[in-house]
């Protein structure tokens, strides 16, 4: 049976999820530096307040293991350690790295696409189709609307249903929708004040 539109979408989603799981396995690889025990010891007699950090596991996270070198002598150690507060902390450096790099790459791609749509594409279209073919739509307000010539290009496309034309059709349809949204939000102030 030929799979339908919805099946295609779901297959895409599932492929994405497999990729995510692979990424997750990268992220959950534990780094030994990602655990630490932090002990905060307040001033005691003439010793100042100090912070001690060490990469130890949860069971070793107490004053005796972490506070080195111990600033007080044998019999005062217990009194000193009673005042210290030790906390176990954990983080995942892999998660942070993957997240930030992924976010920056998505942001970079969006910025490139935005630059292409607002600056490069009108120039390219003007060169390919000539000045006479471009009809500026009459709702051009102020600066150049990125999708102003969507209607025009749509009407020019050939009737061959090959892949490139379909992509372009879909893109033009999306641009028209964004244009409509922009008109209702920014120009007519009908939605979203």
């Amino acid at each position: 049976r030929r799979p339908t539109v919805k099946m295609k979408r779901v297959f895409l989603l599932e492929a994405l999820s497999v990729a995510c799981c692979v990424l997750l396995s990268q992220v959950t690889a534990k780094n030994s530096e990602d655990i630490r025990c932090k002990c905060i010891c307040p001033p005691y007699r003439d010793i100042e307040g100090q912070i001690y950090k060490q990469n130890v596991s949860l069971k070793d996270c107490n004053c005796l293991h972490v506070v080195e070198p111990m600033p007080v002598d044998g019999k005062d150690v217990e009194a000193y350690c009673l005042r210290c507060e030790c906390k176990y902390e954990e983080r995942s450096s892999g998660t942070i790295k993957v997240t930030i790099i992924m976010y920056l790459s998505i942001l970079g791609l969006l910025l490139l696409y935005m630059v292409y749509l607002t600056l490069l594409e009108p120039i390219l279209k003007r060169r390919l189709f000539g000045h006479s073919q471009l009809i500026q739509s009459d709702d051009d307000v102020g600066d150049q609307q990125p999708f102003a010539n969507a209607h025009n290009v749509l009407s020019r496309s050939h009737s061959r249903p090959n892949m490139l034309n379909k992509v372009e059709h879909a893109q033009q349809r999306w641009r028209r929708q964004v244009q409509e949204q922009r008109k209702s939000v920014f120009d007519r102030h009908v939605v979203l004040s």
Partner: protein
Amino acid sequence: MNGAGNLMDFLDEPFPDVGTYEDFHTIDWLREKSRDTDRHRKITSKSKESLWELIKSLLDAWSGWVVMLLIGLLSGTLAGVIDLAVDWMTDLKEGVCLSAFWYSHEQCCWTSNETTFDDRDKCPQWQKWAELMTGHAEGAGAYVLNYFLYVLWALLFSFLAVSLVRVFAPYACGSGIPEIKTILSGFIIRGYLGKWTLLIKTVTLVLAVSSGLSLGKEGPLVHVACCCGNLFCSLFSKYSKNEGKRREVLSAAAAAGVSVAFGAPIGGVLFSLEEVSYYFPLKTLWRSFFAALVAAFTLRSINPFGNSRLVLFYVEYHTPWYMAELVPFILLGVFGGLWGTLFIRANIAWCRRRKTTQLGKYPVLEVIAVTGITAVLAFPNPYTRRSTSELISELFNDCGALESSQLCDYINNPNMSRPVDDIPDRPAGPGVYNALWQLALALIFKIVITIFTFGMKIPSGLFIPSMAVGAIAGRIVGIAVEQMAYHHHDWIIFKNWCRPGADCVTPGLYAMVGAAACLGGVTRMTVSLVVIMFELTGGLEYIVPLMAAAVTSKWVADAFGKEGIYESHIQLNGYPYLDVRDEFTHRTLATDVMRPRRNDPPLAVLTQDSTTVEDVEALIKDTDYNGFPVVVSRESERLIGFVQRRDLTLAIKNARQKQDGVVSSSVVYFTEDAPQLPASNPQPLKLRRILNLSPFTVTDHTPMETVVDIFRKLGLRQCLVTRSGTELTLFISLSVQASPGYHHQEGRPATHGSNDEPGSRVHHVQLTEERRSFGLLHFVFWLIVVYCCMLLPYLY
């Protein structure tokens, strides 16, 4: 379709079928409910036939839970990504980590070995920009350079945010909660919960929050979660074809959104119930809770704040409070109510100005200007320089013996035995008084700038700024009470409950109560606010102070105006939203409200078997009503049913294209059998399947209170008025707050009663063949994926 076309089928424009709704119209709740009942009845009756059908019916029942699981997973993941990215980008304004650029300040200094207390925030790997560029860390030149770069980064982030919103997804701006409230009450805004809106909202939310503007991310997170809900609805036809069921999923998704924003699953469900949803059946309650829990669990496993907590300002002290402290708590409640009223009035006035004057024509410039002002005024004050979440976290926290911030610069007793919890009250050092001045300035600044920030064309929420205002006010009051209790411990009020050497007053608690009061004053939340606050703090001891403050602030704010900020924005934009809390106070009858009135043209009706296709098309062209009653004939106007404009248009278009012999003079009939016509007449057109045989009717003496109640409780959009039984005279339609954009809003008629829809049944049959094998495979696959993902952390 040829082979190459198949791959790109999803790029084709979907053909609208009969039964869908147009953009900016409301849905018909009754029709959606009856369609869902039909579908369910069909599946249940078929499930008795074979084992395979039984499994399919089970899958259909479980599809709701699968959707909730997916929503929880995706919302939690997106919230974790947003938290981590905001953490990093906020610190990017001040400096950069040299060893690994993706670490924020705290993460960069995680492994450093600074032991002395003054150096706890400094480490050689993280350098401020001035230090990096010029090599000097201190001095006037370094300060000016840091200042300049801070403002530059803030401007860059906000400019990127507003450009992305403008170019890719204009619906991604604002908070989103007013529009989601409207959508959940039955309105359709196509594209508002789309994939591009989701992507752009997530990306630009990080940029907007990192730029230092006075806004929060909670409202936008609700929008993001609802977009995830909409995305997963399209996987199952049970939800994608039924707008009523879809809104149940969106209610649950909203709960998941608040749950990840605050780390409060129960609070999220209550928020969805109280603030966002319109119809909230009990089944949705359980499913929302599930979605919220899954989302909270996913966020916790991403662990963005490095300590297995979900929110940056989770506090854990359990010091008791005293009855006499209720007086300052109630005062804080009054402050919260007053501030809420002031904010709502000022913000609505500013937004109205933006809508109607020239200000609205320069959104990008406006954002840049506000960001510039915010950054320039925020940098000198250390309390506004850092992100608002960090400020709230510091204000909520109780001071230990070893705090380095100015706010905790108390004069310590060297013989004090306990370093952290239960420290007795101490006199304030000079640092505290300094901090109080700075906090007072920060309070004024935040009160003023938030009015201009909320509602700009970038994603902006308002929970965090309100909580910040309340927390600052609360902390100031708390320190004042604490010092008064210390220095005047022999006064009557303090003598009973506060002994010297005991820990009486916790200023952090006052900050929490203040935050709750201000948030309640602005949004008018009641139960959900208290639950969110006590889930934030983890302490049940503080429910009574929180409730006192929340109730007081709501009463004070309600005395000035009944609407919260979201309802005010709904009114400002003129969305068709019938608030359940409003009361209809006029003593009128249905006859006084219905149309057409005495001087209007007569009612536009269709007859059951004597209208031609040409007449119908003329009627559609000449009028802009959304539906037409169908009567027996023009002489005896007895009501048969009601037909929707959109369905009529599509059916006639379909008929002209597909059926033979249908021309302009063909007769349209709504009866079961074709009318008796001479053979020379062209083929008649049967349109019974689009006719609603049970439209809602009231008599002309029904009081309007009842009619409004019927509209609200049943979700009607149209109501027909009859006189003496079945004689149709006139009809009422819902037009709430009709504003220019929505004059078409005069009702989406109820086209289907309880009858089956032969037309749509054909659609169902065509698709079930492919669905059969695919559905099970699909479900099993997801089960395996989820199971593996949960197992992965344990494998390492």
